[in-house]
Amino acid sequence: MRLLVLAVLCVALMVVDARFETLKPLRSQMGLVLTPFYWLADLPVRTWQRVTEQLTSSTSLVAENEKLKAEALLMQRRLQKLAMLTEQNVRLRELLNSAALVDDKVIVSELIGLDPNPFTHRILIDKGERDGVFLGQPVLDASGLMGQVVEVMPYAARVLLLTDVTHSIPVQVNRNGLRAIAVGTGNPDYLELRHVAETADIKVGDLLVSSGLGQRFPSGYPVAQVTEVVRGSGQPFLIVKASPTAMLNRSRYLLLVFSDSRTPEERATAAAEAQESADREAAAQTIPVEEGQEPPAPATPPAGPNNSQPGAERQE
């Protein structure tokens, strides 16, 4: 009797939860109450990490410091070049009359838990509704896209990784702009490209970047690198496997991206206006600066939302 009542209740809950929105607030409240659980469950790992951190010898710290400095130097150099390229890109886009690139705002969050079910690839992060996280928000790590937010609780959020079976993302080949859809396989090591024509120009080593066509992920972030292309397998389409560039099972710090949610038209108008005002400013100030190409960036990057690279400011 008890079994029957509770089982019916369970089934009813499942249906309601799957089909309607009514249980979402309840879930999020329960999530709030249960958030300390994740913290508690993660405590041993955290303690262990802190202990190993304490025990790292100073020599290895010095070595790491050296390495990071060298890396920073390399990055600086690339940033200088980037400033110039951005400038050029903006000008070319202006010529083409298309929307300008907008720099996305990001916040950093930390991983606090993994999904106990080994067949789903989901993780938990320590930022939630209170930090402005929203459903469908893209998540990155230092080397590429990781996934998107699928559930928001007040102080935590759940992220579906690229490699989950239920996840797919529109991508394009960085080399030639060929579009495709990268589908998760349930294997943390690779994604598969679906419906790539037998004659498509794609080869091992190609970088796949997000194309932004699904209106969910911002465009231009690296997603995966092609590792295997099988032609003439008798299947109607190519079999293409690609390994994600993000370190899906190693990254502890993740970036949450706030790309702007305006429609393309609005974005284009805003960008055009920004361009115009920037041009006016530039015309007012810097016609005389001509003599000799001073190293990287041209003297005045147009002010506006598009150029917020710190490198550009440092040049002057």
Binding site: L6, M14, L34, V165
Partner: protein, 162 residues
Amino acid sequence: MITGRLNNGWVIWLSLVLALLLSIAPMPQSFALARPLWLGMFIAYWAIALPHRGGMGAAFFFGLMLDVLSGTLLGQNGLPLILVTFLVLSLQQRLRMFPLLQQSLVLLVILGLGELVHLWLNTLAGNRPPTLLFLVPVPVSALLWPWVFVALQWARRRFDVY
């Protein structure tokens, strides 16, 4: 926590909370497949030891907690858990007479049934595990059962729960 009621019910709750914690605790990738069904085992113990205190309600409640914690549909873990509890409760008279090994054999079957129901629900919800590996936790739990039983029995006697 203070022993508010005379029969130390908090020990049961504490052990179940511990089971909940264990079932979401991070594990190395290679062992994640073999994560024992802590909640199922703990609830089964209390159902065998103290059947008069019910257990169905607790199974339902903790199942929902696990659903929230693991982000599945509400009831997806609850339904298998109440099924397991029901089966254990209905076999309780016999189970408590069995030696430990025989108990774990019966539990192997019961937890396996629970996992199969879980598989159906997972499939309905749209993520079907690709292989039969989802059954690995069942034998692992059955192997762990004697230890769990002894530990919980110690706790029950130590704190005099009845």
